[in-house]
Symmetry: C2
Subunit: 363 residues, 2 copies
């Protein structure tokens, strides 16, 4: 077994002990006589797994009792439609902050569906190199909700604050930062996240929704996108993505075993500091994101020379550090260092960056 | 390792060689240095996996070139909404055959969404103990499509014929019979199926759609439910359920290795004959499904005594045959004997049935 450091933006690394445990019980789970993949979702064995997944997630994130936790399918992109379908009935309009590609997609989806939506702030003109400042006076007081993307995977930016939206519920796509650090769930109306960065393999989407927000669904909407139906059925209106939820449980168990999100945040801060401190200490690479908006999870940098950028990603892959090529919207490199990326991986990357800069002087 | 015979209606058994292979490469896939669960869906390694899954499925089912194969999320229940959203734009109305609970749900979903839908045939008054006879004259000639559920998991019934719907496209939910025997795909406009019976763990839904039917989507529908968008993006408009698709590939590989769907159908016919022949040869158990409508995949039977039924399921579980309790709508027992159930499992069940009948005489 020759594992690499995988800097992919998602799907991305999972903790090795989690993978090893999953492999060891894949064919036969405990005394059940079958794989988790083969279990009826209505069986006591599986009901214990999904209940554990929920209770561990509640414990890790300190989720208040008046919030429902849903395990859905379709990724965050499906929630781009589900959010207005479930919420816009409150007042008939909604506000969006566009801080990158995915928040832009969320906004466009609501627009396409014919709703009265407004982009109240964006940093598009700066190629999304920072997070907009969102204040209460920007928001329509009668908006059904305000939508934000809390960490922008492509650009490597993250909110350093929770916008104060007053009485207007704040809805946050946290796909690429959930479980990376403690967050005050009570400040949000809805938090949703695809699993494939910090929670589990792709295939399960977590929605955390305040109970009073379950009452505004469009009566003609697809049943499977309706949060209230899913909440009433414990995410089992139909067969849930059972194995992905089991993997999420194993990841949550691992997080609890290392000390929860306080310890995880400490490790994540240290990991990203290794990169940002090095980036700030030299001139070969440039980090395009403005201070105050830097993501702990996705660290973007460029050499300023497209050929060198290409060589960097290619040489790094040969050295066992894969998927460092940046998204085409930003160019350069992106190191996604989610929870499961060990400190050693980041140290190896920084060492490689130094060596590469020495060996490939700019003309 | 002490594996049981799992007669669950779904999720259900997977072929043991498939589980063993998945376990062996779970932590590290080939030379990739990572788990399939950790792979970027845009990586060459993963692109090869999803391409193989599609080409193997095409080969197994002999899918014509003018059909697209999509790997989606949300289960068949999500397709209950996606079908009208994608197709009803053709003519503005659609017809449904209601032959059980899931076809009823599909009909109600389209009704709830406000469409002009008509139930053209049902066997509800007979508690769905057979499949309706559907003839062309029952169908509105200007219907956008006719929807059927080809195998009814709960009642244990299956179409023994493909309804002739003339120029009206036939849409079939094949969740619980897909890959059980060869089927002439060209007779259908759309075939869809949740994976968790014969294809893979829960979490991926296969949609096979004739290309000319991709042009009728409701422009305001959720993007993630739009087949055309998914077809144009090779099922990767967003992150697909990567690991479930990989498992589907392993299952398809296994099916090809044993001789494809002809051999699978032969085995399935033999397996269900063991049960039906025994049921027809005695009076202790009754098979409620009428001849001509019997499912190869789900075999239902009752003792006629609720206490005995309960004891049967409980005693069978102790003897290593799990999940034989029937659905509450039918009562009694249901043996789901999908592709991965070995003949030995069915033989063990028949032996158990004989012994149980001897040891538990009716009053």
């Amino acid at each position: 077994m020759n594992r690499v450091y995988n800097f992919s933006a998602g799907p991305s690394m999972l903790p090795l002990p989690v993978l090893e445990k999953a492999a060891s019980e894949l064919v036969c789970y405990g005394e059940s006589g079958m794989s988790v993949m083969e279990m009826s979702h209505r069986s006591p064995d599986y009901e214990a797994i999904i209940a554990d997944a929920e209770s561990m997630l509640r414990k890790l994130m300190n989720i208040p009792d008046n919030y429902k936790v849903l395990f859905l399918q379709g990724g965050a992109s499906t929630q781009f439609a589900a959010v207005p379908l479930n919420l816009i009935g409150r007042t008939g309009k909604a506000d969006y902050v566009v801080s990158g590609q995915f928040s832009g997609k969320a906004f466009k989806e609501a627009q396409k569906m014919g709703y009265d939506v407004k982009c109240v702030a964006t940093t598009k003109d700066d190629n999304f190199n920072h997070i907009p400042t969102v204040t209460k006076d920007m928001i329509r007081p009668d908006a059904s909700y305000v939508h934000v993307c809390f960490n922008n995977t492509i650009y490597g930016t993250k909110y350093s604050y929770i916008p104060d939206t007053g009485d207007v519920p704040l809805v946050a796509d946290m796909s690429s930062c959930i479980l990376s650090e403690p967050v005050d769930v009570s400040k949000f109306g809805v938090i949703y996240a695809g699993a494939q960065k910090n929670m589990a393999p792709a295939g399960v989407t977590v929605v955390i929704v305040r109970e009073d927000l379950l009452e505004y669904a469009d009566p003609k909407m697809p049943t499977m996108l309706e949060w209230k139906i899913m909440a009433e059925n414990g995410s089992m209106y139909n067969t849930p993505p059972c194995y992905s939820i089991y993997m999420l449980k194993l990841v949550a168990e691992w997080l609890l075993s290392i000390g929860g999100l306080e310890e995880m945040a400490k490790r994540n801060k240290e990991k990203c500091a290794l990169l940002y401190d090095y980036l700030d200490s030299q001139n070969y690479y440039v980090a395009p994101v403005l201070e105050g908006s830097r993501s702990m999870m996705n660290v973007t940098f460029v050499t300023g020379n497209a050929d060198l950028d290409k060589k960097f990603a290619s040489d790094a892959a040969k050295a066992g550090m894969k998927n460092l090529k940046g998204h085409r919207s930003v160019g350069g490199m992106r190191a996604s260092i989610y929870n499961a990326m060990p400190r050693e991986g980041v140290e190896a990357l920084v060492a490689f960056m130094k060596k590469f800069a020495e060996e490939n002087p700019k003309a």
